[in-house]
Protein backbone atom coordinates (compact mmCIF):
# COMPACT_ATOMS: atom_id res chain seq x y z
CA UNK A 1 0.00 0.00 0.00
CA UNK A 2 1.36 3.38 -1.03
CA UNK A 3 2.00 5.64 1.96
CA UNK A 4 1.64 9.37 1.70
CA UNK A 5 1.15 12.06 4.28
CA UNK A 6 -0.80 14.50 2.09
CA UNK A 7 -3.55 13.68 -0.35
CA UNK A 8 -5.41 16.71 -1.79
CA UNK A 9 -8.56 14.56 -1.97
CA UNK A 10 -8.56 14.36 1.85
CA UNK A 11 -9.59 18.01 2.05
CA UNK A 12 -13.10 16.98 1.06
CA UNK A 13 -13.15 14.63 4.07
CA UNK A 14 -12.51 17.46 6.54
CA UNK A 15 -16.13 17.31 7.65
CA UNK A 16 -15.61 13.69 8.71
CA UNK A 17 -13.84 14.84 11.88
CA UNK A 18 -17.33 15.12 13.41
CA UNK A 19 -17.66 11.32 13.21
CA UNK A 20 -15.55 10.83 16.32
CA UNK A 21 -16.64 13.95 18.24
CA UNK A 22 -19.88 15.25 16.81
CA UNK A 23 -20.75 18.01 19.27
CA UNK A 24 -17.33 19.68 19.24
CA UNK A 25 -16.90 19.19 15.51
CA UNK A 26 -20.27 20.74 14.78
CA UNK A 27 -19.50 23.74 16.96
CA UNK A 28 -16.18 24.19 15.17
CA UNK A 29 -17.77 24.16 11.70
CA UNK A 30 -20.59 26.49 12.71
CA UNK A 31 -18.06 28.94 14.11
CA UNK A 32 -15.80 28.51 11.08
CA UNK A 33 -18.68 29.33 8.74
CA UNK A 34 -19.57 32.40 10.77
CA UNK A 35 -15.98 33.66 10.78
CA UNK A 36 -15.75 33.75 6.99
CA UNK A 37 -19.03 35.58 6.40
CA UNK A 38 -18.86 39.20 5.30
CA UNK A 39 -18.60 41.42 8.39
CA UNK A 40 -16.39 44.38 9.22
CA UNK A 41 -13.99 42.69 6.79
CA UNK A 42 -15.06 41.60 3.31
CA UNK A 43 -15.03 37.93 2.31
CA UNK A 44 -12.12 38.75 -0.01
CA UNK A 45 -10.07 40.30 2.80
CA UNK A 46 -10.79 37.31 5.04
CA UNK A 47 -9.73 34.91 2.29
CA UNK A 48 -6.43 36.79 1.90
CA UNK A 49 -5.80 36.62 5.66
CA UNK A 50 -6.60 32.90 5.58
CA UNK A 51 -4.19 32.41 2.69
CA UNK A 52 -1.42 34.18 4.60
CA UNK A 53 -2.04 32.13 7.75
CA UNK A 54 -2.18 28.94 5.67
CA UNK A 55 1.34 29.67 4.48
CA UNK A 56 2.59 30.58 7.94
CA UNK A 57 1.16 27.27 9.17
CA UNK A 58 2.47 25.46 6.07
CA UNK A 59 -0.89 23.70 5.71
CA UNK A 60 -1.14 22.29 2.16
CA UNK A 61 -4.89 21.69 2.47
CA UNK A 62 -5.47 25.30 3.49
CA UNK A 63 -3.17 26.61 0.74
CA UNK A 64 -5.15 24.74 -1.95
CA UNK A 65 -8.47 25.78 -0.44
CA UNK A 66 -7.69 29.46 0.06
CA UNK A 67 -5.87 29.89 -3.26
CA UNK A 68 -9.17 28.89 -4.90
CA UNK A 69 -11.25 30.97 -2.50
CA UNK A 70 -9.10 34.06 -3.06
CA UNK A 71 -9.60 33.77 -6.83
CA UNK A 72 -13.32 33.22 -6.38
CA UNK A 73 -13.61 36.23 -4.10
CA UNK A 74 -11.96 38.45 -6.71
CA UNK A 75 -8.41 38.73 -5.38
CA UNK A 76 -5.64 38.79 -7.96
CA UNK A 77 -2.18 37.22 -8.02
CA UNK A 78 -0.45 40.39 -6.81
CA UNK A 79 -2.72 40.69 -3.77
CA UNK A 80 -2.27 37.00 -2.95
CA UNK A 81 1.52 37.20 -3.13
CA UNK A 82 1.52 40.37 -1.01
CA UNK A 83 -0.55 38.55 1.61
CA UNK A 84 2.06 35.78 1.72
CA UNK A 85 4.81 38.36 2.09
CA UNK A 86 2.96 39.75 5.10
CA UNK A 87 2.94 36.26 6.65
CA UNK A 88 6.60 35.77 5.80
CA UNK A 89 7.55 39.17 7.20
CA UNK A 90 5.80 38.42 10.50
CA UNK A 91 7.39 34.95 10.67
CA UNK A 92 10.83 36.46 9.95
CA UNK A 93 10.27 39.38 12.29
CA UNK A 94 9.03 37.08 15.06
CA UNK A 95 12.23 35.07 14.78
CA UNK A 96 14.47 38.10 14.71
CA UNK A 97 12.75 40.08 17.46
CA UNK A 98 13.55 37.18 19.78
CA UNK A 99 17.15 38.10 19.08
CA UNK A 100 16.65 40.87 21.62
CA UNK A 101 15.88 38.22 24.24
CA UNK A 102 19.05 36.38 23.21
CA UNK A 103 21.03 39.62 23.41
CA UNK A 104 19.60 40.45 26.84
CA UNK A 105 20.51 36.99 28.15
CA UNK A 106 24.01 37.02 26.64
CA UNK A 107 24.66 40.53 28.05
CA UNK A 108 23.52 39.40 31.49
CA UNK A 109 25.93 36.47 31.44
CA UNK A 110 28.87 38.31 29.94
CA UNK A 111 31.43 40.55 31.63
Amino acid sequence: MEKKYFDPADLKKFGNITEWQEAMGKKFFDWYGEVFKEGALTEREKALIALAVAHAEACPYCIDAYSSTCLEKGADEEQMMEAIHVAAAIKGGATLVNGVQMMNHVKKLSM
Partner: protein, 356 residues
Protein backbone atom coordinates in the same frame (compact mmCIF):
# COMPACT_ATOMS: atom_id res chain seq x y z
CA UNK B 1 -3.82 49.45 -31.17
CA UNK B 2 -2.59 45.95 -31.94
CA UNK B 3 -3.99 42.93 -30.15
CA UNK B 4 -1.89 39.79 -30.21
CA UNK B 5 -4.11 36.72 -30.46
CA UNK B 6 -2.94 33.87 -28.28
CA UNK B 7 -4.64 31.19 -30.36
CA UNK B 8 -6.90 30.52 -33.31
CA UNK B 9 -10.49 29.31 -33.21
CA UNK B 10 -11.07 25.60 -32.59
CA UNK B 11 -12.66 25.42 -36.03
CA UNK B 12 -9.65 26.78 -37.89
CA UNK B 13 -7.35 24.55 -35.84
CA UNK B 14 -9.45 21.56 -36.94
CA UNK B 15 -9.92 20.65 -33.27
CA UNK B 16 -12.38 17.85 -32.47
CA UNK B 17 -14.11 20.12 -29.95
CA UNK B 18 -15.39 22.35 -32.75
CA UNK B 19 -17.86 19.50 -33.33
CA UNK B 20 -20.84 20.17 -31.08
CA UNK B 21 -21.77 16.49 -30.87
CA UNK B 22 -18.27 15.76 -29.58
CA UNK B 23 -18.66 18.47 -26.91
CA UNK B 24 -21.93 16.93 -25.73
CA UNK B 25 -20.22 13.54 -25.56
CA UNK B 26 -17.50 15.06 -23.35
CA UNK B 27 -20.09 16.70 -21.09
CA UNK B 28 -21.78 13.34 -20.68
CA UNK B 29 -18.53 11.48 -19.89
CA UNK B 30 -18.38 9.56 -23.17
CA UNK B 31 -15.39 11.26 -24.81
CA UNK B 32 -12.07 12.66 -23.59
CA UNK B 33 -13.02 12.00 -19.96
CA UNK B 34 -14.98 9.39 -18.04
CA UNK B 35 -15.96 11.86 -15.31
CA UNK B 36 -19.65 11.38 -14.54
CA UNK B 37 -21.94 13.85 -12.81
CA UNK B 38 -25.62 13.73 -11.90
CA UNK B 39 -27.75 14.47 -14.95
CA UNK B 40 -28.93 18.09 -14.88
CA UNK B 41 -32.43 17.06 -15.95
CA UNK B 42 -32.64 14.73 -12.93
CA UNK B 43 -31.28 17.40 -10.60
CA UNK B 44 -33.89 19.99 -11.52
CA UNK B 45 -36.61 17.31 -11.67
CA UNK B 46 -35.88 16.64 -7.99
CA UNK B 47 -36.95 20.25 -7.38
CA UNK B 48 -40.19 19.75 -9.27
CA UNK B 49 -39.09 20.98 -12.69
CA UNK B 50 -39.87 17.94 -14.81
CA UNK B 51 -40.32 20.18 -17.85
CA UNK B 52 -38.73 23.60 -17.73
CA UNK B 53 -41.16 25.91 -19.49
CA UNK B 54 -40.71 29.46 -20.74
CA UNK B 55 -42.44 32.59 -19.48
CA UNK B 56 -43.62 35.17 -22.06
CA UNK B 57 -40.85 36.04 -24.51
CA UNK B 58 -39.16 39.32 -23.50
CA UNK B 59 -35.64 39.23 -24.93
CA UNK B 60 -34.83 38.54 -28.56
CA UNK B 61 -31.13 37.77 -28.57
CA UNK B 62 -29.37 37.66 -31.91
CA UNK B 63 -25.92 36.23 -32.43
CA UNK B 64 -25.26 38.30 -35.47
CA UNK B 65 -21.99 36.57 -36.41
CA UNK B 66 -18.88 34.79 -35.24
CA UNK B 67 -16.43 37.28 -36.71
CA UNK B 68 -14.43 39.00 -33.96
CA UNK B 69 -11.20 40.96 -33.68
CA UNK B 70 -10.28 38.88 -30.59
CA UNK B 71 -9.79 35.17 -29.91
CA UNK B 72 -10.50 34.97 -26.17
CA UNK B 73 -9.37 31.79 -24.44
CA UNK B 74 -12.79 31.19 -22.86
CA UNK B 75 -15.03 32.09 -25.82
CA UNK B 76 -18.11 29.87 -25.95
CA UNK B 77 -18.85 31.02 -29.50
CA UNK B 78 -15.41 29.98 -30.83
CA UNK B 79 -15.35 33.41 -32.45
CA UNK B 80 -12.31 35.07 -33.97
CA UNK B 81 -10.84 36.96 -36.92
CA UNK B 82 -10.83 33.68 -38.87
CA UNK B 83 -14.64 33.23 -38.63
CA UNK B 84 -15.45 35.32 -41.70
CA UNK B 85 -18.17 33.12 -43.14
CA UNK B 86 -20.73 33.09 -40.37
CA UNK B 87 -22.37 36.53 -40.46
CA UNK B 88 -26.10 37.27 -40.54
CA UNK B 89 -27.24 38.66 -43.88
CA UNK B 90 -29.65 41.54 -44.40
CA UNK B 91 -32.59 39.32 -45.43
CA UNK B 92 -32.32 37.38 -42.16
CA UNK B 93 -32.08 40.62 -40.18
CA UNK B 94 -35.19 41.88 -41.96
CA UNK B 95 -37.01 38.70 -40.90
CA UNK B 96 -35.85 39.38 -37.32
CA UNK B 97 -37.34 42.89 -37.55
CA UNK B 98 -40.70 41.49 -38.72
CA UNK B 99 -40.82 39.14 -35.75
CA UNK B 100 -39.67 41.76 -33.23
CA UNK B 101 -42.42 44.07 -34.49
CA UNK B 102 -45.06 41.34 -34.32
CA UNK B 103 -44.47 40.12 -30.75
CA UNK B 104 -45.44 42.90 -28.30
CA UNK B 105 -43.95 41.12 -25.26
CA UNK B 106 -40.43 41.50 -26.73
CA UNK B 107 -39.05 44.62 -25.07
CA UNK B 108 -35.31 44.09 -25.67
CA UNK B 109 -33.17 43.12 -28.63
CA UNK B 110 -29.84 41.83 -27.38
CA UNK B 111 -27.18 41.81 -30.10
CA UNK B 112 -24.15 39.65 -29.56
CA UNK B 113 -21.42 37.93 -31.57
CA UNK B 114 -18.41 37.76 -32.26
CA UNK B 115 -17.95 41.47 -32.36
CA UNK B 116 -21.46 42.44 -33.52
CA UNK B 117 -20.26 45.80 -34.84
CA UNK B 118 -18.20 43.96 -37.50
CA UNK B 119 -21.39 42.81 -39.23
CA UNK B 120 -21.83 45.24 -42.16
CA UNK B 121 -25.57 45.62 -41.40
CA UNK B 122 -25.12 46.31 -37.67
CA UNK B 123 -25.78 50.06 -37.70
CA UNK B 124 -28.73 49.82 -40.05
CA UNK B 125 -30.26 47.08 -37.91
CA UNK B 126 -29.80 48.98 -34.63
CA UNK B 127 -31.49 52.05 -36.12
CA UNK B 128 -34.41 49.94 -37.40
CA UNK B 129 -34.94 48.22 -34.03
CA UNK B 130 -34.91 51.57 -32.25
CA UNK B 131 -37.59 52.81 -34.67
CA UNK B 132 -39.76 49.97 -33.33
CA UNK B 133 -39.34 51.45 -29.85
CA UNK B 134 -37.49 48.43 -28.47
CA UNK B 135 -34.46 48.60 -26.20
CA UNK B 136 -31.18 47.53 -27.84
CA UNK B 137 -28.22 45.94 -26.08
CA UNK B 138 -24.87 45.84 -27.84
CA UNK B 139 -22.53 43.23 -26.33
CA UNK B 140 -19.40 45.14 -27.23
CA UNK B 141 -15.94 43.71 -26.63
CA UNK B 142 -14.61 47.30 -26.22
CA UNK B 143 -11.44 46.81 -28.28
CA UNK B 144 -13.43 46.96 -31.52
CA UNK B 145 -13.93 50.69 -30.85
CA UNK B 146 -10.20 51.32 -31.24
CA UNK B 147 -9.43 48.44 -33.65
CA UNK B 148 -9.86 50.47 -36.82
CA UNK B 149 -10.64 54.07 -37.76
CA UNK B 150 -14.03 53.05 -39.12
CA UNK B 151 -15.15 52.05 -35.61
CA UNK B 152 -13.87 55.13 -33.76
CA UNK B 153 -17.27 56.82 -34.01
CA UNK B 154 -19.10 53.84 -32.49
CA UNK B 155 -19.55 55.55 -29.09
CA UNK B 156 -21.32 58.47 -30.85
CA UNK B 157 -23.47 56.11 -32.92
CA UNK B 158 -24.46 54.03 -29.89
CA UNK B 159 -25.22 57.14 -27.84
CA UNK B 160 -27.29 58.65 -30.63
CA UNK B 161 -29.49 55.54 -30.66
CA UNK B 162 -29.55 55.17 -26.86
CA UNK B 163 -28.12 51.66 -27.06
CA UNK B 164 -27.24 49.93 -23.79
CA UNK B 165 -23.60 48.85 -23.95
CA UNK B 166 -22.61 45.65 -22.16
CA UNK B 167 -18.88 45.01 -22.25
CA UNK B 168 -16.57 42.29 -21.03
CA UNK B 169 -13.76 43.28 -18.75
CA UNK B 170 -12.65 40.22 -16.79
CA UNK B 171 -10.55 42.20 -14.36
CA UNK B 172 -9.21 45.65 -13.58
CA UNK B 173 -5.65 44.50 -14.18
CA UNK B 174 -3.71 43.94 -17.39
CA UNK B 175 -2.34 40.47 -16.56
CA UNK B 176 -5.72 38.91 -15.72
CA UNK B 177 -7.48 40.55 -18.69
CA UNK B 178 -4.83 39.80 -21.29
CA UNK B 179 -4.41 36.17 -20.17
CA UNK B 180 -8.06 35.59 -21.06
CA UNK B 181 -8.59 37.94 -23.99
CA UNK B 182 -5.22 38.45 -25.70
CA UNK B 183 -2.16 40.63 -25.26
CA UNK B 184 -2.98 44.32 -25.52
CA UNK B 185 -6.70 43.90 -24.79
CA UNK B 186 -6.61 45.59 -21.39
CA UNK B 187 -5.03 48.82 -22.63
CA UNK B 188 -7.33 48.94 -25.67
CA UNK B 189 -10.35 48.29 -23.41
CA UNK B 190 -9.40 51.14 -21.08
CA UNK B 191 -9.04 53.47 -24.05
CA UNK B 192 -12.47 52.43 -25.36
CA UNK B 193 -14.08 52.85 -21.93
CA UNK B 194 -12.71 56.39 -21.78
CA UNK B 195 -14.19 57.10 -25.22
CA UNK B 196 -17.57 55.74 -24.07
CA UNK B 197 -17.40 57.83 -20.89
CA UNK B 198 -16.53 60.89 -22.99
CA UNK B 199 -19.87 60.72 -24.86
CA UNK B 200 -21.77 60.20 -21.59
CA UNK B 201 -21.87 56.40 -21.17
CA UNK B 202 -21.78 55.38 -17.52
CA UNK B 203 -22.28 58.98 -16.41
CA UNK B 204 -25.10 59.96 -14.12
CA UNK B 205 -28.02 61.79 -15.70
CA UNK B 206 -27.21 60.93 -19.34
CA UNK B 207 -29.46 57.87 -19.57
CA UNK B 208 -26.63 56.11 -21.39
CA UNK B 209 -25.98 52.76 -19.73
CA UNK B 210 -22.57 51.13 -19.73
CA UNK B 211 -22.47 47.80 -17.92
CA UNK B 212 -19.43 45.58 -17.50
CA UNK B 213 -19.23 41.81 -17.48
CA UNK B 214 -16.88 39.96 -15.18
CA UNK B 215 -16.12 36.34 -15.84
CA UNK B 216 -13.39 34.42 -14.08
CA UNK B 217 -10.05 34.10 -15.85
CA UNK B 218 -9.72 30.42 -15.03
CA UNK B 219 -11.35 27.35 -13.53
CA UNK B 220 -13.10 29.03 -10.64
CA UNK B 221 -16.51 30.51 -9.91
CA UNK B 222 -17.23 34.23 -9.70
CA UNK B 223 -17.48 36.11 -6.43
CA UNK B 224 -20.69 37.86 -5.48
CA UNK B 225 -21.71 40.45 -8.03
CA UNK B 226 -22.21 43.15 -5.42
CA UNK B 227 -18.70 42.71 -3.98
CA UNK B 228 -17.06 42.63 -7.40
CA UNK B 229 -19.00 45.66 -8.60
CA UNK B 230 -17.86 47.71 -5.61
CA UNK B 231 -14.23 46.67 -6.17
CA UNK B 232 -14.37 47.32 -9.95
CA UNK B 233 -15.94 50.76 -9.39
CA UNK B 234 -13.31 51.69 -6.83
CA UNK B 235 -10.32 50.45 -8.83
CA UNK B 236 -11.39 51.71 -12.29
CA UNK B 237 -12.18 55.14 -10.85
CA UNK B 238 -8.94 55.32 -8.84
CA UNK B 239 -6.60 54.07 -11.56
CA UNK B 240 -8.25 55.32 -14.77
CA UNK B 241 -11.07 57.74 -13.80
CA UNK B 242 -13.56 55.41 -15.54
CA UNK B 243 -17.25 55.22 -14.61
CA UNK B 244 -19.77 52.50 -15.39
CA UNK B 245 -23.26 51.57 -14.25
CA UNK B 246 -23.48 47.91 -13.19
CA UNK B 247 -21.27 44.87 -13.25
CA UNK B 248 -22.61 41.45 -14.18
CA UNK B 249 -20.81 38.43 -12.76
CA UNK B 250 -21.10 35.58 -15.26
CA UNK B 251 -19.96 31.98 -14.78
CA UNK B 252 -17.96 30.37 -17.59
CA UNK B 253 -19.92 27.46 -19.04
CA UNK B 254 -17.99 24.32 -19.91
CA UNK B 255 -18.39 24.50 -23.66
CA UNK B 256 -16.29 25.32 -26.71
CA UNK B 257 -12.96 27.04 -25.98
CA UNK B 258 -13.51 27.12 -22.21
CA UNK B 259 -14.17 23.38 -22.33
CA UNK B 260 -10.96 23.01 -24.34
CA UNK B 261 -9.09 24.99 -21.68
CA UNK B 262 -10.58 22.85 -18.87
CA UNK B 263 -9.56 19.63 -20.60
CA UNK B 264 -6.09 20.85 -21.59
CA UNK B 265 -5.32 22.19 -18.11
CA UNK B 266 -6.62 19.10 -16.28
CA UNK B 267 -9.31 21.14 -14.52
CA UNK B 268 -12.42 19.67 -16.18
CA UNK B 269 -13.59 17.21 -13.51
CA UNK B 270 -12.86 19.56 -10.63
CA UNK B 271 -14.66 22.46 -12.34
CA UNK B 272 -17.75 20.37 -13.13
CA UNK B 273 -17.75 19.15 -9.54
CA UNK B 274 -17.72 22.76 -8.35
CA UNK B 275 -20.67 23.62 -10.60
CA UNK B 276 -22.64 20.57 -9.49
CA UNK B 277 -21.91 21.16 -5.79
CA UNK B 278 -22.91 24.82 -6.12
CA UNK B 279 -26.28 23.93 -7.74
CA UNK B 280 -28.85 26.35 -6.35
CA UNK B 281 -32.54 25.54 -7.03
CA UNK B 282 -33.44 29.18 -6.28
CA UNK B 283 -31.88 30.15 -9.63
CA UNK B 284 -34.17 28.00 -11.80
CA UNK B 285 -37.16 30.34 -11.99
CA UNK B 286 -34.95 33.19 -13.18
CA UNK B 287 -32.96 31.33 -15.83
CA UNK B 288 -32.54 33.44 -18.96
CA UNK B 289 -33.67 30.61 -21.23
CA UNK B 290 -37.18 31.15 -19.85
CA UNK B 291 -37.73 34.68 -21.24
CA UNK B 292 -35.24 34.68 -24.12
CA UNK B 293 -34.96 33.31 -27.63
CA UNK B 294 -31.53 33.11 -29.15
CA UNK B 295 -31.16 33.40 -32.92
CA UNK B 296 -28.10 32.20 -34.83
CA UNK B 297 -26.47 34.00 -37.76
CA UNK B 298 -28.26 31.62 -40.15
CA UNK B 299 -31.67 32.13 -38.55
CA UNK B 300 -32.12 29.07 -36.32
CA UNK B 301 -33.77 29.37 -32.92
CA UNK B 302 -32.37 28.25 -29.56
CA UNK B 303 -33.27 28.55 -25.88
CA UNK B 304 -30.03 30.43 -25.16
CA UNK B 305 -26.69 31.39 -26.69
CA UNK B 306 -25.02 28.35 -25.07
CA UNK B 307 -27.55 25.90 -26.54
CA UNK B 308 -26.93 27.67 -29.83
CA UNK B 309 -23.22 26.93 -29.63
CA UNK B 310 -24.00 23.28 -28.89
CA UNK B 311 -26.50 23.23 -31.78
CA UNK B 312 -29.36 22.26 -29.46
CA UNK B 313 -32.27 23.85 -31.32
CA UNK B 314 -35.58 24.72 -29.68
CA UNK B 315 -37.95 21.82 -29.14
CA UNK B 316 -40.78 23.62 -30.95
CA UNK B 317 -42.62 23.25 -34.24
CA UNK B 318 -40.65 26.01 -35.95
CA UNK B 319 -36.91 25.89 -35.41
CA UNK B 320 -36.07 28.66 -37.88
CA UNK B 321 -37.04 32.31 -38.27
CA UNK B 322 -38.89 31.36 -41.45
CA UNK B 323 -41.17 29.04 -39.44
CA UNK B 324 -41.40 31.28 -36.36
CA UNK B 325 -44.45 30.23 -34.35
CA UNK B 326 -44.80 32.14 -31.09
CA UNK B 327 -47.55 29.88 -29.73
CA UNK B 328 -45.45 26.76 -30.22
CA UNK B 329 -42.38 28.48 -28.74
CA UNK B 330 -44.28 29.55 -25.63
CA UNK B 331 -45.26 25.94 -24.98
CA UNK B 332 -41.92 24.29 -25.68
CA UNK B 333 -39.92 22.42 -23.10
CA UNK B 334 -36.50 24.07 -22.73
CA UNK B 335 -33.65 21.85 -23.92
CA UNK B 336 -31.31 21.00 -21.05
CA UNK B 337 -27.93 19.33 -20.78
CA UNK B 338 -24.95 19.15 -18.45
CA UNK B 339 -23.64 22.63 -19.31
CA UNK B 340 -26.79 24.08 -17.67
CA UNK B 341 -25.11 23.56 -14.29
CA UNK B 342 -23.12 26.70 -15.20
CA UNK B 343 -26.25 28.86 -14.99
CA UNK B 344 -27.52 27.38 -11.72
CA UNK B 345 -24.29 27.47 -9.69
CA UNK B 346 -24.17 29.69 -6.63
CA UNK B 347 -26.06 32.90 -7.20
CA UNK B 348 -26.76 31.76 -10.77
CA UNK B 349 -25.61 33.22 -14.06
CA UNK B 350 -27.28 34.80 -17.04
CA UNK B 351 -26.52 37.40 -19.69
CA UNK B 352 -27.66 39.89 -17.04
CA UNK B 353 -25.40 38.45 -14.34
CA UNK B 354 -26.55 36.90 -11.06
CA UNK B 355 -30.05 35.45 -10.84
CA UNK B 356 -30.81 34.62 -7.19
Amino acid sequence: MAIKQRSKSLKSRGDGLSDTFFQLQVLNGKQATDAQFPKFVDTIASNGYTDLKPVPLEIFQINIGKLCNQTCAHCHVDAGPDRKEENMDKATLERCLDIIASVPSIHTVDITGGAPEMNPHFRWFVAEVRKLGKKVIDRCNLTIVVANKKYHDLPDFLAQHQVQVVSSLPYFSKSRTDSQRGDGVFEASIQALKMLNAVGYGKEGTGLTLDLVYNPSGAFLPASQETLQAEFKRQLKRKYAIDFNSLYAITNLPISRFLDYLLQSGNYAEYMEKLVEAYNPATVDGLMCRNTISVSWDGYLYDCDFNQMLDLKVAAKGQHLNDFDIASLQNRPIVLNQHCYGCTAGAGSSCGGEIA
